[in-house]
Amino acid sequence: MKNDYKKYTMVFLITLGIFILVFVLVSMVNDRKLESIDDLQRKITADLIATETQFDLLKTAPCGTLDDTLLSRELGELGEKLDFVQDSQGINSTEFQQLKKYYSLLQVKDYLLMEELSNKCDVEIDSILYFYSGDCINCQKQGYVLTELKKRYLDIRIYSFDTDLDFSVIGTFVSLYDFEEIYPTLIINEKVHQEFQTLKKLEKMFPNLIEEREEIKRIEQGTAFVLFLEKYKDVDDNDIEFIEAIDSVYEYQVVADGSAELVFLRYDQKEEVFVLEKE
């Protein structure tokens, strides 16, 4: 009989041991994830400060940095990672909340910096401010749409703010645009949209982005056309370089047999095909 209780206790300890092991293992993995988020955040902070400092030093905007979309990409990655940790791993510790607040702060900083750069360098920057909350029905869907939009148009800057976070900066932002607390709320070109926006609607709001993407596609199409020419059948992808497009004439440089040649193609808008202009 005594042995029985010994056994029950032993089995209990084994089971408890397995449970503890599982919990320790998972929390170790999750800690590592939070750490890597922290690292990424530090890196972004450094980059942001670098841009700001450059700004201050030159007294004018360093317009060259505008081309560098790396920062926004990293911010996007950071957001994705935070979302994953919260949704799939169910983490919502104070440490995590802190990271998320910091992320919001970085986004605001990046936004302000970009606003200033665009004013001074006279460049249009496509950005979306997105406010959401946990209990809103369409926010999940809106999130999917924005993720997809970002995937299609890398240059677009999407700043997302979780209004459930008890964070004054977000509150200030909300009062700045003075909108009612209905979510999802999107601010695009200073205009407040307080309903779910489909992918198509959003794409329409950024016509130049679509145009740009079309252009990239067209340039690729032109490259394919050149490759297809009898004369360049031994040439591969890397030997063709797009130079420029004036009106509907696309200029390519082709390296064949060690010498560079220029090829001009005309794009036929109606038929949506290329024709050889001159070699």
């Binding site: 029950y8 089995v11 599982v22 998972v26 994953f84 791993q89």
Partner: protein, 407 residues
């Protein structure tokens, strides 16, 4: 709510570990005696049949094929008021010296057919074999290793699903194989709480002293075992004795069967509740029966939650595709950041691995060489999606003490 899930997982895992430890334990009270010249006790095997014209022939043939001294073996076939050709089917055997045929009116439950036969038994042992089961030739012989101990009052066999030919039967095959593992674990700690219809053999002394079978909510095989346990009668498990049985082929009869089993289990344990947590009954009363009941009820409570956890990610995925279309980005470089596992998932995976391991151990017991087969997945499917139906139904019935119909 999540904490309930953890508690449930903890108890399930506790039970699995408990069985694993028990499996390797030594049973000091019951030890098989293997001898070259075993003593063959005289035995009467009762075969109750109700509308079993298709299988009863095979059942009788297998009994006739038993390696056992002719003069020690009597086979009693009881036609329990069948409305099909069972009676004419068993007439083929009426001239065999070892076989006695009886016909009685059906009284609605199997226990009546068994009790009809019991007073006619004059042998030392009484066996029961359902008419949809058949035995291996050496099954009875191996029983003698246990009955050599005069204190062993009953012995049960290794039950294997015969020729699984449908999804549900394959699932049951895997389930029964895990059952073999559990049966041996229960045997090792003297906690067998069922003497199933397919080939349980008792000493006649059991019925002489404890009385005949009872109605027992249509699970007379659970009641008699609990009654024996209550009186400290020893029940052994002879793993080398293999008996084949057929499981329900389709959903409806399967659910009906399981509702009857679980309802019967719950009600019988309730009827014998005075043995629960009594020290003298050791692990049976302290762990096996209480956890058995607990697992039934907790599954009922937690099934909706588990479903929710399963369906939620699926719902998210579908709604994503619905809003932005399906356009995955294929890439060989995995960002390990996005590979994660939660505590519940990890524990569930552990539980599944232990289940598969115990299934293999069960198959090892009966010498089944094919260890990893598709039926394992069928079983998990059955236990995830179908078992809750019978668990919920039988618990509700048990709580409302609603009467079950037999078959």
């Amino acid at each position: 709510m999540e904490y309930f899930l953890y508690i449930f997982l903890f108890i399930s895992l506790y039970f699995q570990v408990f069985l694993l430890v028990s499996y390797f334990e030594k049973n000091d009270e019951i030890k098989p005696v293997v001898s070259l010249d075993p003593e063959y006790l005289s035995i009467t095997i009762i075969v109750p049949c109700f509308n079993e014209e298709k299988t009863v022939g095979k059942t009788i043939e297998s009994l006739l094929g038993l390696q056992y001294p002719d003069e020690k073996l009597i086979i009693m076939i009881i036609d329990d008021g069948s409305t099909d050709n069972t009676w004419s089917e068993i007439q083929k055997y009426k001239d065999r010296p070892r076989i006695k045929l009886f016909q009685k009116e059906n009284e609605g439950s199997k226990f009546a057919a068994l009790n009809f036969a019991l007073p006619l038994v004059e042998t030392e042992l009484v066996g029961v074999l359902d008419a949809d089961s058949w035995v291996e030739p050496d099954a009875l012989e191996h029983y003698m290793e246990f009955f050599a101990d005069p204190e062993v009052m009953a012995t049960i066999p290794s039950m294997v699903i015969a020729r699984p030919d449908s999804f549900l039967r394959r699932a049951q095959k895997a389930e029964y194989d895990i059952g073999l593992f559990a049966r041996r674990a229960f045997h090792r700690i003297n906690a067998i709480y069922i003497t199933p219809g397919p080939f349980s053999v008792f000493r006649k002394y059991v019925f002489d002293t404890l009385g005949p079978y009872q109605e027992a909510h249509h699970t007379e095989d659970a009641e008699i075992a609990l009654r024996m346990q209550k009186h400290h009668y020893k029940i052994a498990y002879s793993e080398k004795s293999v008996v084949y049985t057929v499981g329900p082929k389709t959903l409806r009869p399967l659910i009906k069967q399981r509702v009857r089993w679980i309802y019967g289990f719950l009600r019988n344990v309730y009827d014998y509740r005075d043995i629960l947590f009594k020290k003298e009954y050791r692990s049976l009363a302290m762990v096996v029966l209480p956890l058995g009941i607990f697992r039934v009820f907790i599954t009922v409570i937690l099934f909706p939650l588990a479903m929710w956890l399963l369906i939620l990610p699926l719902y998210k995925w579908i709604s994503k595709i619905w809003t932005v279309g399906y356009n995955p980005v294929w890439s060989w470089s995995i960002d390990w950041f996005f590979v994660g596992i939660t505590q519940i998932q990890l524990i569930a995976i552990l539980g599944i691995l232990v289940s598969i391991m115990t299934l293999w151990m069960g198959r090892e017991l009966v010498g089944d060489k094919r260890k990893f087969t598709i039926d394992i997945f069928y079983m998990f499917f059955m236990y995830t999606f179908i078992a809750p139906i019978w668990l919920i139904k039988s618990s509700i019935n048990a709580l409302l003490s609603r009467k079950q119909s037999w078959r």
